[in-house]
Amino acid sequence: MKKLKSILAITILAITFTACSSDDDSPAPVNQEEVITTLIATLSSTSGNITMTYRDLDGDGPDAAVVTVSSALAANATYAGSLDLLNETESPAESITAEIEEEDDEHQFFFSSALVSSAYADMDGDGNPVGLAFTLTTGDVGTGNLTITLRHEPSKSAEGVSDGNIANAGGETDIAVTFPIVVQ
């Protein structure tokens, strides 16, 4: 019986304890990491720079992204391209480009367009393309789209992948954005 009593006492004690453990502290906000809010593609040529920007400041939130292309591309021209990725939910904005450079063997960009052709201008430690630097060659006059896709953990050795063909790449999509382009 004594044992029973002591167990009951412990029970009551435990309940009293928990009843007191209430705190009114507000939780800390989470600054979403690894969020890519912004992709800036810069195309440079002797006739000047063209900037294409995709910006979705609320990330996975409901607001639509803002897509801008600074000007039309010239016909039959070659542009040296570079990509910059940012997380602008943080202040100052965090560069995601550096993270991708660090793990370039696990990332690859793909460029697809019926209007322009592209080639890789960089490579990872294994000699496979990454796509943070690229060249873009325009042909005839027209309007269309340029889609830039970033795949995480693609199989870079699969057929055609190192040439920029996404079909066999696999992996997960980290970025898939489409810019409307005009070649004139």
Partner: protein
């Protein structure tokens, strides 16, 4: 002759007088419960070989006793035999109470007829240890599927949630050793954190009729009970080890129990399981392993009149989730659905990589009970549960090894029940319970919280009565009131807050504005009424009818209210709704039972009308930098579920027997006039058993499992633009997989090693024909086939 006899008697009485052996021991024997006199109980004094029986008033009397202490053994049919040391000094009156083992009897009856134990008129099935041991290496959800009407909702093959008559998650209560499991059961990919090996028997109660466990079990209640303690000096245990080909894994589970005649008992149990990547018939399912560790200690003191129980259990599951199920966006989903093979297939490995879950659940419980003469039993219980859930996503950079979800749910519960059983055949039970629950979402994950920090308070009170009208008719009634209160603190993206129009309806909840994020403090309360009424009627020895009506209310769970974010494993954005109110179910159940020596039939029909049924369905797509994602939103509708479950057991001969378990279910959305999403397929399982005691008690069975294609499903297919191809495609996430048929083979033999030790060797083959199939209720059905052939060798040692 007469003279000698008289002389002899005279001498004897003289002798007796000389020792003053003329004391009388008398008294009455009555029943502990209701005080009625027990007629015909026998009393025996061993040292004197004296024997008497109680008369019609329960009186007994021993005459011509010498003063001293006697060991008296008292026994009566249906009572536990009692041994008492009674001191006789002169004429002694000693009254005895005997315990009519009503409850114990009921338990025994259950073993015999596999009918009911927790409730009177609910549709209830009991699985005993023999049925459970075969699933020692599996999960609770796997074991429960042997009951008709019970299915499972899977994420792969190691995350298995039970589905009772089409309902799951928060609509099912899982009780383990008297504790209601609080383990974030709201999540579709959160399996019950319980080791199947810790249970000696499991009772599944369909519907919400068992109000003692809670008022919100619209689906049903799963009651897991540990080994009952016996009042004798004994040490026993069992060890089950198994090795299996699929997953190249093993499981070992051991249990040891020590009991004492005085009532003390202690039992320890532990289980280890380890599996690597499982295999579908045609390929390896990369990253599907499991690493599980658990143990529990159960001890206490138990007599009929009083006792206590202290219980602690620990469980850790590290579960890998199919690599190919991790997706980037709707385009990846499209690729995955259309790809004949999973997108990632690597060589076999025991590694558990992201995506994965790492869940630890601890339960501490203490319980105390006392019986009062001619009154009833009072029970007081406190329990504490600590659930820690880590979910790891595929991440890059410094966050690679950081959990994406880090939740810690702590629950304290206290409950008191009073069961009045002094009125023979009629019992009345009252109970009060209170819970305090705290959820903490660790902000260090660097991912916005899917479930916010909250405090939840619950209070419940109920009354149940079970009335025996005559030996054929029994009635039961119950009523319950529950109060739930949430006090949550959640960050919303300002854009989401405005998109959901919360800025209009819930503006007063905002306590802090951080620009792009708002901190809000929802305080919601819910009042729930539940009730049940039922009757069982035994027509004759073979036929019985059972009817039950239950009303239940369930308050929304945190996931339904607060979910808000991207779920990578499902490539979907899930949105809860603060406006969701509780759902109300009216369930009508009717059962017919036939039992004869050879044939047992149990036909269970039900109609469950759920008003404001809470469900999640695709409602559109949202564009992000990663591409489009389908948005799944929690909504409410009026729904009906109509079903029929059939169990047939037929003894063909002494050695052959046959079993059928079949179920049909129709779920309708009454508002939209279309089928409900995620309803289990109709299925029938037929098994043929053979047993030959002469061949080392050889058992063999062949089981045929036929699962029909679910033809009733809502069309949630959606169109999305695929940027890489420039096309808009229809993504088919609705069409259920085709009908499939599987064969399973089981066999075992038993060796008696000593008179107390035996070894059972079992060999079974699941999916004998290595059939490729997918199940509608497996969330990974888009990505890969289900398991291929699996050969399991099981050794079971009882000692």
């Amino acid at each position: 002759m007469k003279f000698y006899l008289t002389l002899c008697v005279f001498c004897l009485s003289l002798l007796a007088m000389a020792q003053e052996c003329n004391s009388i021991l008398k008294g009455t024997i009555d029943d502990f419960h209701d005080g009625t006199k027990i007629v015909g109980a026998s009393l025996y004094i061993e040292s004197l070989k004296k024997y008497t029986v109680t008369d019609l008033e329960g009186n007994f009397e021993f005459t011509n006793l010498c003063d001293g202490i006697y060991k008296v053994r008292i026994s009566h049919i249906a009572c536990e035999t009692k041994e008492l040391d009674i001191e006789v000094s002169g004429n002694t009156v000693y009254n005895v109470t005997l315990e009519h083992h009503i409850e114990e009897l009921e338990q025994v009856k259950v073993e015999g007829s596999s009918a009911k134990t927790q409730t009177n008129s609910s549709q209830e099935t009991v699985l005993k240890s023999k049925n459970l041991e075969a699933y020692s290496s599996g999960s609770l959800g796997d074991a429960l599927k042997q009951i008709s009407g019970v299915n499972s909702l899977n994420t792969g093959n190691t995350i298995v949630k039970p589905v009772i008559n089409g309902l799951h998650s928060s609509r099912i209560i899982v009780m383990t050793n008297g504790v209601r499991l609080q383990d974030q059961e709201w999540g579709i990919e959160h399996a019950p954190n319980i080791d199947i090996n810790s249970a000696e028997s499991i009772s599944v109660i369909k519907g919400s009729g068992a109000l003692a466990f809670g008022g919100d079990a619209i689906g049903g209640v799963v009651v897991m009970s540990p080994q009952r303690a016996f009042l004798k000096d004994s040490l026993f245990g069992k060890t089950i080890t198994s090795a299996q080909s699929n997953g190249r894994g093993y499981s070992i589970s051991s249990k040891l129990t020590r009991t004492y005649v005085k009532g003390w008992y202690i039992s320890g149990q532990g289980t280890l399981k380890r599996y690597g990547d499982f295999e579908a018939p045609d390929y390896s399912l990369t990253n599907t392993g499991l690493n599980s560790k658990s143990f529990s200690i159960n001890g206490g003191f138990k007599t009929f009149e009083k006792g206590f129980n202290v219980f602690y259990s620990f469980l850790n599951n590290e579960i890998a989730i199919l690599r190919s199920s991790h997706l980037g966006n709707a385009e990846d989903l499209e690729n995955a659905i259309n790809s004949p093979l999973p997108l990632t297939i690597n060589d076999f490995s025991y590694d558990i990589d992201a995506p994965k879950q790492d869940v630890t659940h601890q339960i501490f419980k203490t319980e105390f009970y006392k019986r009062f003469k001619r009154f009833g039993r009072l029970d007081v219980q406190y329990d504490f549960q600590n659930n820690k859930r880590l979910e790891f996503d595929i991440r890059v950079g410094d966050d690679r090894d950081k959990a994406a979800i880090d939740l810690n749910l702590k629950t304290h519960s206290i409950k008191t029940t009073l069961k009045l059983d002094s009125n023979h055949g009629n019992t009345y039970e009252f109970g009060i319970s209170a819970n305090y629950q705290n959820n903490f979402a660790n902000p260090n994950t660097g991912v916005r919280r899917l479930i916010p920090d909250y405090d939840k308070y619950d209070f419940g009170v109920y009354a149940i009565t079970d009335l025996t009208i005559n030996d054929k008719l029994r009635l039961d009634f119950g009523a319950r009131y529950d109060f739930n209160y949430y006090d949550a603190k959640k960050f919303y993206q300002t854009s989401r807050w405005e998109e959901r129009d919360y800025d209009i309806d819930f503006a007063d909840l905002v306590i802090e504005d951080l620009g792009t994020q708002l901190l809000v403090n929802p305080k919601f309360e819910y009042h729930n009424i539940s009730a049940s009424a039922g009757t069982t009627y035994e027509i004759n020895d073979h036929n019985a009818l059972l009817f039950n009506y239950s009303l239940s209310n369930r308050a929304p769970n945190p996931s339904e209210l607060f979910s808000d974010g991207l779920h990578h494993s499902a490539a979907r954005i899930e949105l809860g709704d603060l406006r969701i109110d509780q759902e109300t179910a009216n369930r009508f159940a009717f059962s017919y039972l036939f039992s004869s020596e050879k044939l047992t039939i149990n036909l269970e029909a039900f109609y469950n009308l759920v008003n404001d049924f809470i469900y999640i369905e695709p409602t559109g797509t949202e564009q992000t930098i990663r591409g489009a994602f389908p948005v799944w939103s929690y909504m409410q509708t009026n729904a009906s579920l109509l079903g029929l479950d059939l169990s047939v057991d037929y003894k063909i001969s002494k050695q052959w027997s046959f079993k059928n378990r079949s179920s049909i279910l129709k779920g309708r959305d009454l508002d939209l006039e279309r089928p409900l999403i995620d309803m289990p397929s109709n299925k029938t399982v037929n098994s043929l058993y053979y047993n030959n005691e002469k061949w080392l008690n050889f058992n063999a069975s062949l089981q045929s499992e036929l699962v029909l294609r679910q033809n009733d499903f809502p069309d949630n297919n959606f169109e999305t633009f695929i940027p890489t191809t420039g096309e808009t495609v229809l993504i088919d996430i609705s069409t259920p997989p085709p009908t499939y048929h599987l064969l399973h083979l089981n066999s075992d033999i038993t060796f008696a090693l000593t008179d107390k030790t035996n070894l059972n060797v079992g060999l079974s083959v699941q999916n004998l024909l290595n059939t490729s199939y997918r199940n509608y209720l497996n969330r990974l059905r888009y990505f890969a086939d289900d398991l291929g052939r699996n050969i399991v060798l099981q050794l079971k040692l009882n000692y």
